[in-house]
């Protein structure tokens, strides 16, 4: 069973027909994907900016309370994104921009591990006015750049077909 067969069988599912068979499904999911993007990128940008050293008057742990909202955005976008793929698997799988986007998400996930186990334990102790560390700055910059990469890859999918 090669990849083409897998893509074929995805395309033949009822879910795929549902996504492609109603004129309103695609624009509705796109709108949700954009709302999810805003929650995800807006929330992470604020937390990352604090890691980089902006708005030091906010204790990091307090600011990090917005991260669950970014996670909600990620979940919305995973669901709608998987539905896009199921609707049109032969369009997305070979697309260079789509692959770049998936690579950026994977790297953002690895960066998140670095955040969770190395940066967060220390950052949670930063009160108002406390300086950041070089590794926190690196993780914050990498996060912003990788999510910009994700948005860029997604936006370029229709132009690199």
């Amino acid at each position: 069973m090669n990849v083409q067969h897998i893509l074929d069988s995805i395309e033949q599912t009822g879910l795929s027909h549902w996504v492609m068979g109603h004129y309103w499904v695609w624009p509705t999911m796109e709108t949700m994907h954009f709302v999810g993007l805003s929650a995800l990128f807006g929330g992470l940008a604020l937390a990352d900016l604090r890691l980089i050293g902006y708005m030091k008057n906010i204790p990091y742990k307090a600011l990090s309370k917005i991260i669950p909202l970014a996670v909600v955005g990620f979940i919305i976008n995973t669901i709608t994104g998987v539905l896009f793929f199921i609707g049109n698997p032969h369009r997305y799988y070979p697309n260079v921009a789509f692959r770049f986007k998936m690579l950026c998400i994977l790297l953002a996930g690895l960066n998140l591990l670095l955040y969770q186990f190395v940066v967060k334990p220390k950052a949670d102790t930063w009160g108002a006015g406390d300086k950041t560390t070089w590794i926190a700055k690196c993780v914050g910059v990498a996060s912003i750049l990788l999510w910009i990469g994700v948005i860029t890859g997604g936006r370029l999918i229709p132009f690199l077909e």
Binding site: P27, L37, A45, L46, I151
Partner: protein
Amino acid sequence: MGVLEALSNTALSRYMAESLWGYPIALTLHAIGMGLLVGVVCILNLRVLGVFRQIPFTGLNKWFPVILVGFLVNLCSGTMLYLSDPANLVKNWAFDVKIVLVVIGMILLLAMRATPAFKNISSMPAAAIGGNPSKVIAIVSLIVWLTAITSGRLTGYVTVY
């Protein structure tokens, strides 16, 4: 010669209509700016309403420059996108609705800054929530920005005859 025709004869408009990369680059910047602008504005509104109350109210002052960056990115990229097809976009009702909503959203943001809670922000207690004027603005603003994203997305689906 009409204004729209004059606009579409400018060098930037011809570049946006004819170049291979002008349009996709502007579109990508528009999605990044949207994430920053709408994401941070909505999180600000939620904080005013009492969500994420651990974030000290005084710290919200530092979010306005972040929002401004998102807005400027989208003002520039949006102007470029508009110039790619000035004559047809003005006939697109979804586009008109979106522009009106973005203008209202930005006026609401200025109104938010003028409310007592934000005028006296440096003396607000850390766990403060917005007063009634700020809360009403926050609710309307959340609705306006989510509707703006929706109408922006629909702009690509409305057929102009």
